[in-house]
């Protein structure tokens, strides 16, 4: 029991230390501090004007500005999942520290989650704050009936993003072209997950993807609670589905991380770029 507690404490320390490193690494370059939040915000404005140019006054059951706000939250978390936690092992490889990392007894999972938490602090939180301000300027009406439901929906969305990053961390090590795959994965997900276009607007077959993609369920719950006055009971199904998928992703991610590390060590290719 005490060994498990010590292990847990160690993991938390590793996680927080990694998060602090990620924050310091980002803050070391002013341009990194500016560009991470700026991309989703400019994308938000671009898509808002596209809806305007299309003459549409609604997306799903809300205004385009409101719909896109939650989409930008999802997009920010998805980008963070790809480029921080998902890219954690790849970052260690490209900075030449992967061998040292894997020689320590640190939990690999704690490192991946640490990267994600660092990104939440320097990328996700500032982006969401500014996006919310922008949404207010664009006249978004919030309709919150159950504040706890909003908090729970958002927390579930965050957990889903971290679970995605856990899965991607293992998957990205399988390839030496993680940057390309990471780049490629962005836009299809924007389209297919309901971030920028309502899932109901997609052709039938493409809608299936959104039902399987965890971040979609989180956005659906957040849209309902933040914009349409839905309560926890009304979005409970989406949240439970989201949490179940997140747990599955974490298990698959852990398996992948272990397998990949084992295979890379055996082949002696862990630090190959």
């Amino acid at each position: 029991m005490s060994a498990a507690i010590a292990q847990g404490r160690s993991s938390i320390r590793v996680c927080l230390a990694t998060a602090a490193t990620e924050i310091r690494r980002t803050l070391a370059y002013t341009i990194e501090v500016i560009r991470w939040p700026l991309f989703p915000l400019l994308y938000y404005v671009s898509l808002y004007f596209t809806y305007e140019a299309a003459g549409r006054d609604s997306a799903g059951s809300v205004t385009p500005a409101a719909f896109l706000l939650v989409g930008i939250f999802g997009m920010t978390l998805w980008s963070s999942a790809i480029w921080s936690g998902g890219y954690a092992v790849e970052t260690e490889r490209s900075t030449g520290t992967i061998n040292s990392l894997f020689l320590t007894p640190a939990s690999r999972g704690a490192v991946v989650i640490g990267y994600s938490l660092g990104a939440v602090a320097v990328f996700v939180a500032p982006t969401m704050l500014v996006a919310t301000g922008l949404a207010l300027v664009l006249g978004v009406d919030f309709n919150v009936a159950d504040p706890i439901a909003v908090v729970v929906s958002f927390a579930s969305l965050l957990i889903a993003a971290i679970a995605m990053s856990y899965l991607l961390a293992g998957a990205f090590v399988l390839t030496r072209k993680a940057n390309m795959f990471a780049n490629f994965l962005q836009t299809p997900i924007y389209l297919l997950s309901g971030m920028v276009v309502p899932v109901g607007d997609l052709p039938g077959v493409l809608q299936w993807f959104a039902y399987a993609f965890p971040v979609s369920a989180g956005m659906e719950a957040l849209r309902g609670t933040l914009l349409s006055g839905q309560t926890l009971g009304m979005v409970g199904d989406s949240i439970v589905r989201l949490l179940i998928v997140s747990v599955v992703l974490m298990i698959v991610g852990q398996f992948l991380l272990e397998r990949v590390e084992h295979a890379a060590r055996n082949a002696g290719t862990l630090d190959f770029e």
Binding site: V45, K177, T187
Partner: protein, 270 residues
């Protein structure tokens, strides 16, 4: 210069340009391979799909506009991500000082690299147009002579931007971050998803200070509506102005930044 020396010099510089092109082509083709193809070919198609879904029911001419504008924006993105990042990428690979020390003009190997970029961009433009034709039923009616006149102006007007970004990338050592900062701004103000004329006043004024919107207006009209140069003269004159001024400003800025980085002894520091 003696004719023999001149011939030797031309031969030497041509060889440098050829080898640079070959290396860049191999790097892009073999090293990045299928993942690279997936990213650069399929991503624009998904971006068009996003616009098409938003414009669904609003008229097919808007999707047609996005397809052509997206194809033209491939030149913009190449200016930013390819030319703008060339030197910083070489620095990260550790080959920049060696390139600077090779016994040939820098313009020769940079021309080789740029040619690889032009070929790659042409391929991506073709893919976007084919996707527009096949997937979105876009029909083109290009005025080829007018297009041949406008495209060089568009490319020249972007060359200054690429040179400035390349120089700033050298200086701040984060060329990719800079590209990622600039590209969404140019997407918003460059008329990729909608014509610049539909932007609200303050943003439209800002957009009109850049060549992109003029280029997009002219190219989309020429490719979709068979517009002549006279038809697009409102965009053509400002674009021609940018095509003259932009490379000059770009070269001055690049030379200044390049000299600054060398004098600081930071060519291979990142």
């Amino acid at each position: 210069m003696q004719p023999a020396t001149l011939a030797h010099s031309i031969s030497n510089e041509s060889r440098a340009a050829w080898v640079a092109w070959l290396m860049m082509f191999r790097e892009r083709f073999y090293l990045y391979g299928r993942a690279y193809a997936m990213d650069w070919i399929l991503r624009p198609i998904f971006e068009i799909s996003i616009a098409a879904m938003i414009y669904f029911g609003a008229g097919s001419e808007k999707v047609s506009y996005v397809v052509v504008a997206m194809a033209a924006s491939m030149i913009v993105f190449s200016s930013i991500y390819f030319v703008g990042e060339i030197l910083d990428r070489e620095r990260v690979k550790g080959t920049l000082p060696s390139l600077f020390l090779t016994p040939c003009r820098r313009t020769s190997w940079m021309a080789g690299y740029a040619f690889a970029g032009i070929l790659e961009t042409s391929g991506r433009i073709a893919m976007v147009l084919v996707a527009g034709y096949v997937l979105f039923d876009v029909r083109f009616d290009p005025n080829v002579p007018a297009l041949l006149a406008v495209l060089p102006l568009f490319i020249l007007s972007l060359s200054g931007l690429a040179l400035v970004l390349s120089g700033i990338g050298l200086l701040i050592k984060r060329a990719n971050a800079l590209s990622n900062l600039v590209s969404p701004l140019l997407t918003l103000l460059g008329g990729v998803y909608f014509p610049v004329s539909t932007l609200p006043d303050p943003l439209r004024y800002l957009a009109r200070l850049m060549p992109l919107g003029y280029g997009m207006d002219a190219i989309t009209a020429i490719v979709l509506d068979h517009a002549s140069l006279a038809d697009v003269q409102e965009s053509l004159y400002p674009l021609a102005g940018f095509a003259i001024v932009s490379p000059i400003i770009g070269l001055i800025a690049f030379n200044y930044l390049d000299t600054l980085v060398r004098s600081r002894g930071e060519v291979d520091i990142y």
